[in-house]
Symmetry: D2
Subunit: 329 residues, 4 copies
């Protein structure tokens, strides 16, 4: 069975959850923003100058934990259904410029300045990144009711694109689910539950607060060096875990160390990616993926100032980012 077929079965063959199926009769609808009809960033509206200053003021160490991964040829990515893999190429090299002389300055001068230039191409959901609220919708609409037919051009969305995502500065919390279970890594296809999260929080002795950036560690990042192993059969979050974080704990943004945040196959009939639609389209909660949490976990730093700004790709459904964490006092 080729991979594409295998994925298809996973996505399509999801178990029915009665409650959701019932609710789905008229079909779930996208969330309407409490911040008004023009809102494009959902829960990130909660950030204020005061909230940012509050967490910055609590920084207790100047050690910067790098929460991002490298981009490299062959890196893990979501390429199964055609999305481009990461490409890197050189546009200028010291030797090449002496031969091409693109600026017509002569071989000597090219040799002197030894120019290196390069280019990349990539799917936007690659490496450490944040999903914008337009990434998944429901029935042609995204968060706050913006419609594809009115707002999606050939150059992306006129609404809720990656350029609207503000820099995120907030209290960050790591929930090391794998660590709390004494595992190096959650098993293949493991679906993280609300109970798992609560247990880990208890083990860590960490309390969630409204407005947190909550980062879930599955341990999968240890395989980042091998695309095949990283992508295969990933553990991830389930719907009730997402609900616990959003509805009960009032998290502002979520993230995890795996490729797709949630796991598969879907728990919801007729929706192959229900955690994404729940978070992005229904609740206005952005999702970070491929967040590097190994160092924080190793040093048991569960609470920190999270600081990260994603690239402002106009109209895009995601922005790559390189967030950092500073331990709090």
């Amino acid at each position: 069975m080729n991979r594409s077929l295998r994925f298809a079965r996973l996505f399509a063959g999801s178990a029915l959850i009665a409650a959701l199926a019932a609710a789905a009769s008229p079909g779930p609808t996208v969330g309407s923003s409490p911040w008004g009809p023009d809102d494009e960033i959902g829960q990130l509206n909660r950030m204020t100058d005061a909230s940012r200053l509050a967490v910055l003021s609590r920084i207790g160490s100047g050690r910067a934990y790098d929460l991002s991964v490298e981009y490299y040829m062959g890196m893990p990515s979501w390429s199964e259904i055609g999305d481009p893999r990461y490409q890197f190429w050189l546009t200028h090299t010291p030797r090449g410029t002496t031969i091409d002389d693109p600026l017509r300055v002569g071989a000597d001068q090219n040799a002197t300045v030894s120019y290196t230039g390069d280019a990349v191409s990539m799917y936007t959901h690659m490496g450490t990144h944040i999903d914008a609220l337009n990434h998944f919708g429901l029935n042609g609409r995204i968060w706050n009711g913006f419609e594809a037919d009115r707002h999606l051009g050939d150059r992306g969305w006129k609404k809720a694109g990656a350029e609207t995502v503000p820099p995120i500065v907030a209290r960050g919390v790591l929930i090391d689910v794998a660590g709390a279970k004494g595992l190096e890594m959650l098993p293949d296809w493991y679906r993280v539950t609300a109970a798992d999260l609560k247990q880990a929080l208890a083990v860590q002795n960490t309390r969630l607060e409204p407005g947190d950036v909550v980062l879930i560690r599955t341990g999968r990042m240890q395989r980042y060096g091998s695309a095949t192993q990283f992508i295969a059969n990933p553990p991830g979050l389930g719907l009730d875990a997402a609900r616990f974080l959003v509805e009960e704990s009032q998290a502002m943004t979520l993230g995890a160390d795996n490729l797709s945040f949630e796991t598969f196959p879907s728990e919801v009939d007729g929706n192959w990616i229900p955690v994404h639609t729940y978070l992005l389209a229904q609740h206005g909660v952005m999702i970070m993926e491929l967040v590097y949490l190994e160092e924080l976990a190793r040093e048991r730093i569960y609470e920190f100032a999270f600081i990260g700004g994603s690239l402002k790709f106009r109209g895009a459904s995601a922005g790559p980012m390189r967030p950092i964490a500073f331990p709090l006092r």
Copy 2:
């Protein structure tokens, strides 16, 4: 005269500066790192946990000034000699997925989840970014003596690539050269001198400190919406301004709001881009370009905590970034 020719003349037709020409007899050589033969990041080695904590502790406001620009189709970039312009394209759309059904989940399910995905390709020196130390060298070597013939493969440099650049957290200083002169924007081709910098610092009543991230405002950013106007005849720094910042003021990293930091034509015979080779190859000082400084300038915020992490494109000569600034107490 077409643009390529025009550029060629600018680069080639530089005035001879006697002192440098003399020094150039044996040719300038790349700098040797005081941080040892393995060093790939030059002056960024100055950052320590203590230096970071010092500046973070002085943050006096939670207002985050966004120092980055948007990526958009048609954006200004260095494409004159073949480098790719920014491209953005959709790989999945709500309507398209119902027709293609790439996951074989059926039209209904595709309609339900309304998937948007997208991809980009870009020259790495596009949008707000930082040049890695391998971007320009001298005679086949880069900072600290790494050689193209030994360390430059088809996938970039094995040394000093963008993935080695640490997150930058330091005191930032804006030198608003245009503002100090009472200008909206420096004139075309204006070459900023050390005297200009000193005057602006005096007007602003700002003092540079060793280890600063120094950002120069030419005002050119006001034209960012038009690639043609932004790129044409840019003002930029001259060599003695760079020397003042690096040798006299001990800046750690430099940046500006224009495309190429320095201006053209070169002041140095036989080197069309001497400020870059001086900073990157000889002194290990990285350069940020296309930094958005308008808001800081408008509010006369000349001193701030600079926080920015660039994307870790392995082996690349630059990394895009989205830095932010917080006013200090």
Copy 3:
């Protein structure tokens, strides 16, 4: 005035042609194929084994005239509104592979085999190419009534894509409009009329036959080496010239040596590109652009066997090709 604006005015500011405006009341509609509801190739259906053999049998010389242009960095292309320019990059080089060793065979073996590999990216309407019938439609439909909403996915059209275009083998005719006027090149923005075509045919003493591939020479190809000059203010065909070729002369396929076949601004109110919609959508006639006709013109070869197969990019709106011509007996 920047280029984009200039183009916009050209396209929008077209003169009203009364007859067409009248006809446009209900709006023109796409053509319905005489070859049935499944037809995707329009007039190319006219080719038969017999028609091909007939022309092949008349070949009188083994000299192959190359009707295609080179692809090179900086080549002319339609990039004004965001389409990617031609990019070429190296993925493997003799020196690079010895450093990267992507196959893990060791530096010696890499040095021995001296591998060069490369990649390209391009807009499909670049270099010598043929427009598929899906390139322009009318009101959401293309030739033969196929609808964007039903047949256009994220990976292109399910109907009338470039992969459906058969190899073209037919009698070819060059109409050297510039030559017949004793000009090196038609003036900027010159709109070729039916009268111009008739005059040139008379001067050449050439007769059109039903099923011909008719190639129009404006002389613009002489500027191919400079993208700026090639693209600027191009001469091209007008609507009555197209009608003469299609309705009166029964041409099977048309082509020209310029970028866009027709010229601008449009003659038709409310349609910035009426020759394309007339040919592709209404009459099922494909269009070749950037055809190299200089050599044929120089040697006054006006009649020939045209042989050309375009690349089968699935779902695409054009396919690049390298046609050749052999003089007939």
Copy 4:
């Protein structure tokens, strides 16, 4: 074992062939062209107006056999070591243009003309294509002694690039090795020998002539719809088969229906791809890959006029093409 490792072992773990090893002491060297020091196309120099006319004059049927494959997302390609997979994307769509209005002509006019545009990116050795003589060399040089250090810039080779390859018009011969053995497809990793070729020629009752385009059928093309299956463990030619074709039979150009022409692991120690270096670098014989031969084989058409022109990508190591075949009298 991941694929990359698997490939590495295949390439590195080749059996030693005594004769070659002996010859390899000083190392094999690239061929020197009998057509002079400027020659960049090797054996293709054999074509003349007379040779082309001779074969064209023998065409006995107007049925055009299409020898090319489609380009599609997910198509088989050599992507194991980083080369880009085929990407196709839309740059303009009927709905998208009404929303983006890139030409500023208004939504109505965009709706009227229903514009579709698209772009591709690809490794040049993808789909039906021909390898230029610069694709593989020996010790830093390619056919006729051109050196990478002198002739390879950042934009490809100044010598022997794909733009130098003339249109190929010659007698074509199909050797259906799989068919002659009564097989649908040669087994995995099967290495075609000279004896296999002779047997097939005998079974077919076909005679090779000097200057032929010889196309070898392994049957692998039947798996073209599945990249994984097409690429895996491909049968291909061995060195003695190549020698038989080139030295004994005086073929002008070779081709096959698989991805890499030859099979692996290599027969030659220290050279993972010896058939390529033998043909391209030592003998100036270009290689076509992914040639579609199923229809010819099915109809037992072993002799034909081969007509094909490859795209002129300047400096590139290959050019895609869409050759056709006409049966001879």
